[in-house]
């Protein structure tokens, strides 16, 4: 006869196994169930690795010119050498090194512009949600004005004021993304404001600032995180577009978009100059889009089974 375990003898370990997973474990489980999201996450990881260790990984400096090796094809093409794995550009700079250093720039652009618009957006959105009629209307109307301009057009307008350049491109992108964050914060905050726990906290004597940042904001974070991740991809895309138009990063900065801006001239002679930076942009944007979609599915309780 087998010994039967009585309820009293359940070990603490077994109990822990039965306990509901922690929120992070649950998020991770839902997130990794999505193959695309996992692929996006690993791509993002790879890009971050390249960006952090660019100085060690890249074989050459991104602005060093090898004058006797101008427009060398990639190593597997006829005429290519193993010295320049992905060939060289019209002034003899190593494509691979420029692409690797470009990763650092693109991620920095994404990080800085998204953090800027996220923090200002959260602040304005919370103020709009908590303040009375007039301030709220003023903020939201201002956001409507910004939304009425197509994204790239608004960025171009901001650049027209500030002048071309990498830093100005980041500000421009931050301004373009601002209305999205303000609207999202306000909408979710208003949804939370009517709930009992906020009322309880209010009755307990919490001040407005505490209510804003300690009580309400943590409960609005899920959609904001998703929006910020997706914002990364549009920031990278818009920065590249501005660079391409000559309004963003200026030469010789190895930014992916500006690497393409003179490329049309060489389209008949050097396909690698035209195609490789675009592959990098596409992969980075795709990675953040997949990750954002995966996060949304994992964080949205409505989609959970």
């Amino acid at each position: 006869m087998k010994p039967q375990t009585s309820p009293a003898s359940v070990s603490a370990e077994e109990l822990r196994a039965c306990a509901p997973p922690s929120p992070f474990a649950e998020l991770w489980r839902d997130f990794t169930r999505n193959k695309g999201a996992l692929f996006g996450l690993s791509l993002v990881g790879a890009f971050v690795f390249l960006a952090v260790f660019a100085d060690w990984i890249a074989p050459y400096s991104p602005i060093e010119q090898f004058r006797d090796a101008v427009l060398t094809p990639p190593s597997w093409e006829e005429g290519g050498t193993s010295q320049f794995l992905l060939g060289t550009d019209p002034v003899g700079r190593d494509m691979l090194s420029r692409l690797i250093h470009g990763t650092r720039l693109s991620l920095a652009i994404g990080l800085i512009s998204v953090s800027l618009s996220l923090s200002i957006g959260i602040l304005l959105g919370l103020i709009a949600a908590f303040s009375g009629h007039k301030v709220e209307t003023a903020i939201m109307r201002l956001m409507d004005v910004l939304l009425a301009l197509p994204s790239l057009l608004l960025a171009v307008a901001v650049i027209a004021i500030l002048g071309p350049g990498l830093a100005n491109a980041m500000y421009a992108i931050a301004i373009v993304r601002l209305p999205g964050f303000v609207r999202l914060t306000r909408a979710t905050a208003i949804g939370e404001l009517s709930k009992d726990y906020v009322m309880a906290s209010r009755i307990a004597g919490a001040g407005t600032l505490r209510l804003m940042f300690n009580t309400v904001l943590p409960n609005c974070l899920a959609p904001l995180i998703v929006q910020a991740t997706l914002g990364f991809s549009t920031a990278i895309l818009d920065a590249a577009a501005l660079g391409f138009l000559g309004l963003g990063a200026q030469p010789p900065t190895p930014e992916w978009g500006s690497m393409l801006s003179g490329a049309l001239e060489f389209i008949e002679r050097a396909w690698w100059v035209v195609s490789l930076p675009g592959v990098a942009i596409l992969l980075a944007v795709l990675a953040f889009n997949l990750m954002g979609d995966g996060l949304r599915d994992a964080l949205d309780p409505k989609l959970k089974r």
């Binding site: 009425a148 138009l245 944007v285």
Partner: protein
């Protein structure tokens, strides 16, 4: 219905006024002032500076300048280009048809491919067909369109030699300008080969500009279709023994297209933003290329006028879409 339109207008008008303030202040936010910017690095003597400031009315108080700007803009006077000395509105109207032609063709391309693709993906849910359509659409959605345009040129113009790289028509043709739309004008001129030349110039920019709307529409149609296919009235139609084709075409598709119509309307902004890039690459003489050139030349009246007119266009089209949406979907009229 009228109260619905009025309600929409009450939101649109302040937005529009906000745009005019933004565009007006654009010229005052530039470091230095416009006259200084015009004088360049050589500088200019103080009398000429004062005269120019007075000529542009820049020495008067700001509210007065704004009132002046609005009243002139209302009469269609948006100032003159610093570079060409032509009125800004005339320059805009000269180039606008080219952008309209390109955008209309691009959105038609997106609709013709995107809606059927989204429909098929929804009907074949979780099959390789669905994954294929959604994968391609995700790639299209993430595509930097200026690079996509370069790839199209690389493949179709350089490798295959099928299409020209830039412009709207070969130089040997010079159709009389009637509508400003090259496809229509070449047909009217009756010149042999002119229409085909215009078409061959249009195809690549159309595909480049239409790709993002195409991807958006395919995704939108698929999710909208999936939602509708789960509704009771679709099950009821199936239960009545209607053929699958009839269920999809008569019952599901009509309702699934309601949100898609709005999305088509909202693409105007995407198209205008995309036109900036597409026109620059293909040397398409439209307003996108015009504005990028103006920024590089620091031609501020053109930048100002271009932004005001594009924003007006977007607001106007969105208003029409909102009203149309109210017409096809009566429920929306009664919610706030």
């Amino acid at each position: 219905m009228i109260s619905y339109i009025l309600r929409r207008l009450s939101v649109v008008i302040p937005t529009f006024l906000g745009i005019t303030v933004l565009v007006f202040s654009l010229i005052h936010m530039i470091p230095g002032d416009p006259v200084e910017a015009m004088s360049g690095e050589r500088g200019m003597e103080p009398e000429r500076y004062a005269r120019l400031m007075a000529q542009y009315g820049l020495d008067r108080p700001l509210p007065l300048q704004y009132a002046d700007y609005i009243s002139r803009a209302a009469r269609g006077d948006l100032g003159r280009s610093i570079v060409t000395q032509e009125p800004v509105l005339r320059e805009f109207l000269d180039r606008f048809p080219a952008t309209v032609e390109l955008s209309l063709c691009a959105i038609a391309f997106a609709i013709c491919l995107g809606i059927p693709a989204g429909m098929i993906a929804a009907l074949k849910r979780n099959t390789p067909v669905d994954y294929g359509v959604m994968g391609v659409s995700l790639a299209g959605y993430s595509m930097p369109i200026f690079w996509w345009a370069l790839l199209l040129i690389l493949f179709f113009s350089v490798s295959l030699g099928w299409t020209p790289v830039s412009g709207r028509i070969d130089i040997e043709f010079d159709p009389a300008r009637v509508t400003g739309l090259m496809l229509v004008d070449t047909l009217l001129s009756g010149e042999e080969g002119a229409f085909l030349s215009a078409v061959s110039h249009l195809i690549l920019p159309m595909v480049a500009l239409g790709t993002i709307p195409l991807a958006t529409l395919a995704r939108m149609t698929r999710s909208s279709m999936l939602e509708v296919l789960g509704e009771d009235y679709v099950r009821a139609a199936r239960a009545r023994g209607l053929s699958p084709l009839r269920v999809v075409a008569k019952h599901a598709l009509r309702n699934a297209l309601i949100p898609v119509v709005t999305v088509v309307g909202l693409q105007v902004g995407t198209l205008l933003a995309g036109a900036i890039l597409t026109e620059t690459i293909f040397s398409w003489p439209g307003i996108g290329k015009w504005m990028v050139e103006a920024i590089h030349r620091r031609d501020y009246p053109v930048v100002q006028g271009g932004i005001l007119l594009s924003a007006t266009l977007v607001i106007f089209v969105n208003l029409i879409v909102d009203v149309l949406y109210g017409v096809i979907n009566p429920r929306i009229r009664h919610t706030r």
